[in-house]
Amino acid sequence: MEKKTPLYEEHLACGGKIVPFGGYLLPVEYPTGVITEHMAVREACGLFDVSHMGEIILRGPGALASLNHLMTNDYTNLAIGRVRYSPMCNADGGVVDDLIVYRVADDVFFIVVNAANCEKDDAHMRANLLPDTQMENISAKVAQIALQGPKSRAILEKLIPAEQIPEKYYSFTREVSVGGIRCLLSRTGYTGSLGYELYCGAEEGPALWRLLLQTGKDDGLIPCGLGARDTLRLEAGMPLYGHEMDDTVTPLETGLGFSVKLNKAEFIGKEALVAKGEPQRKRIGLKVTGRGIIREHQPVWAGEKQIGMTTSGTFCPYLKGAYAMALVETDSVQLGDSVEVDVRGRKVPAQVVDYPFYTV
């Protein structure tokens, strides 16, 4: 039985088309449709319910050590008020989940994980905590709303003093009162456009949602569903758990080496990653040059040889073209090469291109 987010009734009120996703009932789109919603985020602003995401707090004198043990990234020098991405690996070097960590205080960290992985993460983390660390899963108590698009800052400025809006990408401010609702506000997101995410108490989520929608109306703010969230992240070349990575794919294979600090003394998965050596496969971007749309799980061919499989693919509304990502053998192709993708028995030509496909 799927759960409802605190904003479920708001989605119905906005005419959202509800589907099950990651254990939750969420809108895939509103009557505006995926393309309009996608374009709103690129050109004006969009509002997303991302309350399905899981939130876990680590605190205590051992919290930093636990975090550095659990995550591939290094949190030692993360300043209070800043956010850092990391994969979390299993002992084989496969990815348990990818997540972002907020440093709230010296020994308090706020971790945001994927909805579908939240229970798995909870168990994995609890089993691997180092001493003097308390862990609390507050997912059910939190509403999370993403305000994404070039107008997002202007909309926030109508609600709060400008100095409370986090300036830098991956930074945040706490105890921000948005229309009387206490929020944590970060400059983060999953769209590739300027944007912010607001966290508040679950029961206050609906009021915050309505306030933001009302305030942003004149700037073109509209509610956006999961469909646009997926096309936006793909257009921005961002990996999605369960697609570009899973328990059997290492972060090095899927192009997340920037967040794997092999110079750390130790972390779960380090030995396996070191033992595997140079990754045997890599993540590439593909732009369809023929007719058609590439989807996930489709074989990629270089000449007569199958070199890998696509992991995600769709039509990107802003770029007005079909793009995909794939995991392929490391030495098989280079940027600019032509490949073919088997789309339900039809070979569709594509070119290997760099990602992100879209940048601000």
Binding site: V28, V34, I35, H38, G227, R291, R295
Partner: protein, 126 residues
């Protein structure tokens, strides 16, 4: 939902409009286009192709997914709506004007529903 009275409907959400002796237009219903969402790509057969009752003759892709389009008749493709190849969104805008193919030489027709019967099917699917 819009369901014109003068058309016949398949449970798989295609409409059929008889246009003469053994000739017809085939398209996607309003319910289908709404369920699929914004269409961005259409793959049509070629003129002269034989299509078979109950089998896929085309596919349409929305941003989210690809769907087969099934033929309610056994016939020969007489014409394809080339405009849709560049403007698949016309199916979303006016599903009953945006025919996918015109067929001739119909030899078999599956059991089709009238507007009321089709609306009942849609109501069940929600």
């Amino acid at each position: 939902m819009n369901t014109p009275e003068n058309l016949q409907y398949a449970k798989s959400h295609e409409w059929l409009k008889m246009t003469g002796e053994g000739t017809a237009e085939i398209g996607l219903t309003d319910f289908a286009q709404d369920a699929l969402g914004n269409l961005v790509f259409v793959n049509l057969p070629e003129v002269g192709d034989s299509i078979v009752c109950g089998e896929s003759f085309a596919d349409v892709e929305s941003v989210k997914a690809v769907s087969d389009v099934f033929s309610p008749v056994t016939a020969t493709v007489a014409e394809i709506n080339e405009e849709l190849l560049d403007q698949p969104e016309k199916i979303n805008e006016a599903p009953y004007d945006a025919w996918l193919i015109r067929v001739e030489g119909i030899t078999e027709t599956e059991e089709l529903l009238d507007a009321k019967g089709y609306e009942a099917v849609c109501a069940e699917e929600g």
